[in-house]
Symmetry: C2
Subunit: 482 residues, 2 copies
């Protein structure tokens, strides 16, 4: 299938004009009902129809007894009913001219029994013969924040962005969406495809490779059965857009569990580990690493080299942090250059005093509590040709000893202002300690201004090192034909 | 020096009856003044005397013009005055019969210049000839929570506990104290010794090895000059008490910075990496790993083997998390055993329903939202002989979709109750996502009940694996003679 065909084929999934939710009812405890509320709360622009044989109404909206009973056209149906009733519903969808169906329901091939496998195959055969596409079963489905489609199961929705995430696991999709909302990792699409009975990883990858709303692709995958084909697809796409891949079920036990989770074999971890690297994609090994890396691609992909200037702590007094930050950077292959004499002279004209260390990493001493001094220091570093990016360590517990939260916000405004006008990316390290509420408040303001915030130098350095090592040709982002 | 001599020598440092703070004044911006307020706020039981030639008073307490002018005896003096004035102050301390002095002030050997080195040597010579001991210079000093001595610089103080932390870096000491307060990592002593001009790592290690208040020892060290001797000391102590060692300045740049930070050479990283392991201590590479490992030694040191039962998510729906948790455990050498038939039969009698996976890791499905069911499941696992410890994944963002925060607290009460009566350690994994305030509230309640909480399976598994690999003879905790 050509890219254009795939695009047309999947368009009603990502931009449906109307959605029906089979399984929404007057029973507020049902997942279908929650999904209906989630779509309303997220502000979905199209029509939403709850469907349940028992009828009734939710939030003043009539519940239709069947898909066929809905008066207007229906592009997309979300199915949250017992698996035994799904075949009848598919027949209704075909009759109604529905384009695609997302099956939330479990009880298919992932059960491992013959009955579940047969039911899934029967469902796919019937749908395909009628041109109806299926997402799932056993999946939480699709989120498309730009048009107000939340993660259906949780209602999670953040600001729209340029990252697509593709996953067999609904749980990881939900969690990444929640983490993304907190850290301002902004998504074009989140796709949980579960058992992948009809539309699978390959189909969605093809779509995303040409999707103009998507600049970065993250992926969680357990499946091993199409390993080689998926690897070849990743290889082609990674030339166009950065790809970050988390392979689950890599170990013996994990692999066994993956098999029962989505009914797919997890494949050899040796093959995958090497293949992801060879394909030019970035391999990550946890949800934290996945989120950290996507955030780095989103906010600091313009970084031109590996040389860091480090302000080891705002507010001063952090010789040990300077040592540890330098250790961590070295471990990740980042450089901490000595600065030119001109830069040092300019810095010493701005900051003076005991405890101040005018080398990289910088200990600004007490001067680092004054917004205007901080701004001048950043401007000097901006002109230093040996520095590619700046890392600033902000320990809220420490700052709160000396200045108020609003003064901390004023310091952060300097960072925000700098990151808006400088081409040198700026990252903030904010260590969780005891002043959590203040820390969260400060971090959110930075994140909202699209500054990447990390909880440790280790995680910040790891993420930026991954961006530097991948370096796909971001400019050449044309649709791919296959 | 024998252990008993060392104990007597350092006793006035950890249990002073009276403390003077040189540099406390009516100027609220001065660090000495802040230290005075910190001691009052922490509820230090002994006498505290502010000292400043300008006199005046703070919080109704008279500021004495000099150490000699203080009427009562003074065991311990904290010095936060310019380095140029320190020699005169030492003379005063000797005249007054002070036992030990902590020099917060910088401007000594860590500057790298001859003048600083000479001043430090002069200070040490004068003090030693008069039997006065020095902590520092260039350090934040000592905290002893049991008698109300906070980290002097920040005022941080948590509940007293059994962990001692020893560090060249004041910044790391402050941060670990803050992290400890949040995660209920409870300290017997926190010791920042800076340049270690008189009392150094060896002295404090000897003291802590026999300190009955200390059962676990954490250490951050940059120094390399006494590498072999320190390594031999660690080797002996690790047989008595678990030792967790973080070596800073291991890399080229980090080592260079370490040299300027405390005036010590950082030594070869190859030597240190191997030596820490050989010595039977646990090597960690970041503050997060240090805190995670100390918490594990504190709360779950009774763990008898490496076999985990995992509840992959409270509230259900986490097949992907189960796969990832299994991957992470395998990577850290932890086992996820199959359960016996009897256990499976008992579990299936308690929990039923679609989505429930009665294998390890467990997906309890909707049953995992009911406290009484959770309690019954834990009791069944308690009787399963193939399980050594239990990990429970609690994703607050997800739980909050279905139950209130007070219902989440009720679920956590079940975990707390179980951890009090079972010999099988229970850990909680709580993933940071978007519902931070609720999450912090839930985590704090668990931590206060001495349940170890980790932000990811990766960090939980890493910490428990370190405890299992170290396995010192905890019972044989006699004072060491050298």
């Amino acid at each position: 299938m050509s890219y254009e065909e795939k695009l047309n084929d999947l368009e009603p999934i990502f931009h449906p004009r109307s959605i029906a939710i089979a399984g929404a009812s007057e029973d507020s405890g049902k997942i279908g009902t929650k999904m209906f509320h989630n779509f309303v709360a997220a502000g979905f622009k199209g029509d939403i129809y709850p469907v349940n044989p028992r009828g009734g109404c939710i939030q003043g909206v009539k519940i239709y007894p069947s898909i066929k009973a809905i008066p207007g056209p229906v592009d997309y149906v979300i199915v949250a009913i017992p698996s035994a009733k799904v075949l009848d519903l598919i027949a209704d969808c075909v009759a109604k001219g529905v384009k695609a169906v997302q099956i939330f329901s479990a009880g298919f091939s992932e059960t491992g029994n013959e009955e579940g496998r047969r039911l899934e195959q029967e469902m796919v055969d019937r749908a395909r013969s009628a041109g109806l596409r299926i997402i799932g079963p056993n999946c939480v489905g699709i989120s498309c924040p730009a048009i107000g489609i939340p993660v259906p199961s949780t209602g999670g929705i953040g600001k729209p962005g340029s990252i697509a995430f593709l996953s067999q696991s609904g749980g990881h999709t939900e969690t990444l969406a929640d983490v993304g909302r907190s850290r301002e990792i902004r998504f074009s699409k989140l796709i949980s495809f579960g058992n992948g009975s009809d539309l699978n990883a390959l189909d969605f990858l093809t779509y995303l490779s040409g999707d103009p709303e998507t600049q970065i692709i993250g992926m969680y995958i357990e499946e091993g059965k199409n390993g080689r084909v998926i690897f070849e697809r990743i290889k082609r796409i990674a030339k166009l857009k950065p790809m970050v891949v988390w392979k689950g079920g890599e170990t013996g036990v994990g692999g066994e569990i993956a098999a029962s989770h989505t009914g797919a074999l997890a494949g050899s971890n040796v093959m995958w580990g090497a293949a992801i690297h060879q394909a030019g994609a970035v391999k990550v090994e946890s949800l934290d690493e996945l989120a950290d890396t996507l955030l780095a691609f989103q906010n600091i992909s313009g970084v031109r080299g590996n040389r860091a200037a480090i302000i080891s702590q705002l507010g001063g007094g952090a010789g040990g942090v300077a040592v540890s930050a330098a250790d961590v950077c070295s471990q990740h292959g980042l450089g901490i250059p000595r600065l030119g004499k001109k830069t040092r002279d300019r810095l010493s004209a701005v900051i003076r005093g005991a405890g101040t260390i005018l080398r990289n990493p910088f200990d600004l001493g007490l001067a680092g509590r004054l917004p205007n001094i901080l701004g001048e220091v950043l401007d000097i570093l901006d002109h230093e040709s040996h520095v590619d990016f700046i890392m600033v360590n902000e320990r809220i517990d420490f700052l709160r000893l000396f200045i108020s939260l609003s003064e901390i916000h004023a310091m952060n405004d300097v960072l925000i202002d700098f990151s808006r006008r400088s081409k040198k990316p700026l990252l903030v390290v904010s260590t969780p300690a005891s002043a959590d509420v203040e820390r969260v408040s400060a971090e959110r303001r930075l994140s909202e201004a699209q500054i990447a915030v990390y909880p440790s130098f280790h995680r910040a350095a790891g993420a930026i090192a991954k961006v530097l090592r991948s370096r796909p040709v971001l400019e050449v982002s044309q649709p791919q034909t296959n």
